[in-house]
């Protein structure tokens, strides 16, 4: 394959959906800086067994999504991203398993948030634990605030360089929606198939 577009700056969007019966299905979409897809990898459903559930406790989700799913997908993908984006701070630990910088969107997955009456801005941010004031490792990428792993401060320079390549009005949440939609379609199709 010739290089062409693939030589350009590439982003990886990593997320997973949880199926009650089958477990987690993870997907990694590699796009160019404009969100055009270059490669997509997804996993078979990963369901932690009872022992893992007991022994990993609250670290189970980061383990499954980061160590099992994220790392596997990053290893498998042919078109390697220059930067991996995740939607949850839990997944920032994926950085330990890869040399690629990983950033998380600050305000988590896209869910409509309605501020309750009487709730102050600080309260909201404290609940999220994700104010840009409280996160020294936060920065801007596209139209989003992102954070990188605190133990990889060297990523800051690299991410700043990438940030210049991403259009300022790029919607960095939209590709995650595509990945989720593709994963749901994958689950739907695999369930429809005769066993």
């Amino acid at each position: 394959m010739s290089h062409g577009n693939h030589d350009q700056f590439r982003l990886g969007f990593l997320t997973a959906v949880e199926d009650a019966e089958r477990g987690y299905v993870g997907g990694l979409l590699i796009t160019n800086r404009f969100g055009r897809p270059l490669e997509f990898q997804c996993t078979a459903p990963v369901k932690p067994n009872r022992t893992q559930q007991i022994l990993y406790g609250p670290t189970l989700r980061p383990y499954v999504l980061g160590e099992l799913i994220g790392r596997t997908l990053l290893e498998k993908v042919g078109v390697k991203p220059h930067l991996v984006l995740v939607e949850s701070l839990d997944l920032l630990d994926l950085r330990a398993a890869t040399s690629t910088p990983v950033v998380s969107l600050v305000s988590g997955p896209k869910t409509p948030k309605v501020k309750r009456t009487g709730e102050t801005e600080n309260q909201t941010n404290e609940q999220n634990g994700q104010s840009d004031k409280t996160l020294p490792n936060s920065m801007r990428l596209g139209n989003e605030a992102v954070v990188f792993h605190t133990s990889h401060d060297e990523d800051r320079t690299e991410i700043e360089k990438f940030a210049k390549l991403v259009p300022a009005d790029a919607d960095l949440r939209e590709p995650f929606e595509r990945v989720r939609e593709a994963l749901e379609e994958t689950i739907r199709l695999s369930m429809a198939r005769p066993a």
Binding site: R33, R36, F40, V79, D169, A182, E185, T186
Partner: protein
């Protein structure tokens, strides 16, 4: 009572040499009395007791009891053997191992190389070592009043963000069954983001329905885009082709159109897909053959005639294969046995699209021929009405102006019913009478052609009397044109005959009349259109239906005259839509000249009555696709034709029902 108890307790402890407990010892309360208290009264009692912390001083002595020696003696221990289970019941240890996760992936075909920056700041090939090569796409233009969202605004809530524009996502086609195919479509970004000036420059923002059309075409292997004239089929098709080429799904596209529309398509390609190279198949045989096989050309544009000729010149299986073939004005293949239709179906291709504003001109069966090209029905299939409807839902996209362009300036139809002038009238009556007599005399040997000839002769007289040159239509036209020219307006006039147009040239000279019909060489046509657009003194462009009705953009003209009626309202609509189309700034006034008490009025009546017949096929609310022309039976019906039969007469007419266009 609680107070009494407390005071009792105080009195009991008062004067005691030892500091005892500060609360009332329980043993001093009758156990039965305590047991009879309810829990509430007990709580009340306890809460009323005054509590003071007092350090405890206790002394523990071992009193002599005679058993102290026994305490110093070793206890006697007896051992009983017990058998343990051989294997332990629990897993002794657990070691975390990295579970193997199986994956599935797809790579996307590499799209076309992006256009190079024309005025790039940085010359190509001068990137610093290790620097990532940036996209060669033109930079994004950010409007001066654009303010990027703040982090706070992102966190605070979506209610404070500006409402997002609706986006058009490409949906997997219904016939895409494999997971790979479906994911390919699902993972594409929204069309708006593709087209928002990031990578593909669009000269104008498409309308929402155009986005839908582009997305629909992009995802279809077989598609008939049947939008009403003037809604931008060309632009939607070019953009969809552009997306296919850019996403690597198509490398060779062939667009076939009628010859007069070649310049139009070239112009539109330059406008809507500036980076997409195209080549027109033209020139002598050798050159055309070379063009057909030329590698690296994403889009070839050919006309129907050269396609048919050149396809025959290639040996069997030698004609180049295309990823997509688009037939413009696809009604050209409505007759499935015609050479054009046979050739079109034989072209090797992966995708087939057809474009037409009039998918049915005469009969529903014409759709069958289009479906056959789209390869959605077996060869020579004759789908019934129900099947046609069902196929239409799946493979036809048709929108009408009423449906999508609610804000477009209106089209005002004025039917001008004109009395023939005296000389015209007598000429007409004589011709009709003689004609009918002649037809009746023909008896059973009568054919549709005979009737057709009479109709044409009568229609010509309604335009003007050949002997005296009297014309009610011309009088009316001159009156209208005077007004239009005075206000600086522009009008288009259509006639069935080039002879009529040439005849009109002189009286219309004072309005800067321009002539555009089949007799004008191709090379002169574009300058004529340009002059009509730019010259303020050119107020009227006179065209024949055949040459001017399709593909031209004349939306700067505010008036359309239909000097005579075409057989087929679809063609008339196409003609009108040269002016009434996207981009027109003001209302378009359409004047149809209809001579009273003549064949024109009768034709109009028959066509109007039949307008609903095909509406059902292409869906509800589609009030424009009633493009019917008259079949032979209807033409015969215009006259009271009878043949002698014994002593009486009998109605006559063609046995088979040929069609006219």
């Amino acid at each position: 009572m609680a107070e009494t108890n407390t005071s009792k307790a105080r009195s009991r402890t008062a004067g005691s040499p030892m500091q005892g407990p500060h609360w009332t010892p329980l043993q001093e309360i009758d156990a039965r009395e305590l047991g009879s208290h309810t829990q509430d009264s007990l709580d009340e009692l306890i809460s009323d007791v005054e509590v003071t912390a007092v350090p405890m001083k206790m002394r523990v002595d071992i009193h002599s009891s005679g058993q102290n020696v026994a305490l110093k003696r070793w206890p006697a221990v007896e051992i009983e053997p017990q058998s343990l289970p051989k294997s332990p019941g629990l897993m002794p240890s657990w070691k975390p191992t990295r579970q193997k996760v199986s994956t599935y992936g797809i790579q996307f075909p590499e799209g076309m190389a992006l256009i190079a920056k024309k005025d790039g700041d940085k010359p190509a090939g001068k990137q610093a070592p290790g620097e990532i090569i940036q996209s060669a796409a033109p930079p994004i233009e950010i409007s001066p009043d654009y303010e990027p969202p703040t982090v706070a605004s992102l966190i605070d809530g979506l209610d404070e963000l500006p409402a997002k524009k609706p986006v058009t996502r490409i949906k997997p086609p219904e016939d895409a069954l494999s997971i790979e195919d479906r994911l390919f479509y699902l993972l594409q970004p929204s069309l708006q983001s593709w087209l928002a000036g990031q990578e593909m420059i669009m000269p104008f923002e498409p309308f929402p329905y155009q986005y839908e059309g582009i997305g629909w075409l992009f995802s279809k292997s077989s598609a008939l885009l049947a939008d009403e004239m003037g809604l931008g089929k060309t632009m939607q098709t070019i953009t969809a082709i552009r997306l296919l080429v850019r996403s690597g799904q198509a490398r060779r596209v062939l667009l076939v159109c009628p010859k007069p529309l070649l310049p139009n398509w070239q112009r539109e390609f330059r406008t809507w897909a500036e980076e997409l190279p195209f080549v027109v198949v033209e020139g002598d045989g050798e050159r055309r053959k070379l063009t057909w096989t030329m590698p690296g050309v994403p889009v070839l544009i050919a006309n129907y005639e050269s396609l048919v000729r050149d396809f025959a010149a290639f040996g069997e299986g030698e004609f180049p294969k295309f990823d997509l073939i688009v037939l413009d004005e696809a009604q050209r293949i409505k007759n499935r046995t015609s050479r054009t239709a046979v050739t079109a179906r034989a072209l090797p291709r992966r995708r087939s699209w057809a474009l037409t504003g009039t998918p049915i001109e005469n009969r529903p069966e014409e759709l069958g021929a289009l479906y056959e090209f789209l390869e959605v029905v077996p060869p020579n299939a004759t789908p019934d009405l129900r099947q046609l409807q069902s196929l239409a839902k799946q493979f036809i996209l048709r929108r009408t102006k009423n449906l999508v362009m609610k804000d477009m300036p209106p089209r005002l139809d004025r039917d001008a019913y004109l009395e023939l002038l005296p000389a015209q009238k007598s000429a007409y009556e004589m011709a009709e009478k003689e004609g009918v007599i002649q037809l009746n005399e023909l008896g059973d040997s009568i054919s549709v052609q005979h009737v057709f000839e009479l109709v044409l002769r009568l229609k010509q007289i309604t335009n003007f009397d050949p002997l005296t040159g009297e014309s009610a239509k011309l009088e009316r036209l001159e009156a209208d044109m005077e007004e239009i020219a005075a206000s600086g307006g522009k009008a288009i006039l259509f006639s069935q005959w080039t002879k009529v147009i040439d005849w009109l040239a002189k009286p219309m000279e004072k309005y800067g009349a321009l002539i555009y019909h089949g007799g004008i060489p191709n090379k002169q046509r574009e300058p004529i259109l340009a002059k009509f657009k730019e010259d303020p003194n050119a107020h009227i462009l006179m065209m024949s239906y055949g040459t001017g009705a399709v593909g031209l953009n004349l939306q700067f003209a505010g008036y359309v005259f239909l000097f005579d009626r075409w057989w087929n309202p679809a063609i008339e609509d196409q003609a009108i839509n040269r002016a009434h189309r996207i981009g027109c700034k003001s209302q378009v006034i359409v004047t149809r000249f209809i001579s009273k008490d003549t064949i024109e009025e009768r034709i109009d009546k028959v066509l109007t009555e039949k307008r609903e017949l095909f509406a059902a096929i292409l869906g509800d609310g589609d009030d424009t696709n009633v493009s019917l022309s008259m079949n032979a039976a209807e033409i015969f019906g215009l006259f009271d034709l009878k043949a002698r039969h014994g002593k009486g007469t009998r109605a006559i007419g063609p046995k088979a029902v040929p069609t006219t266009t």
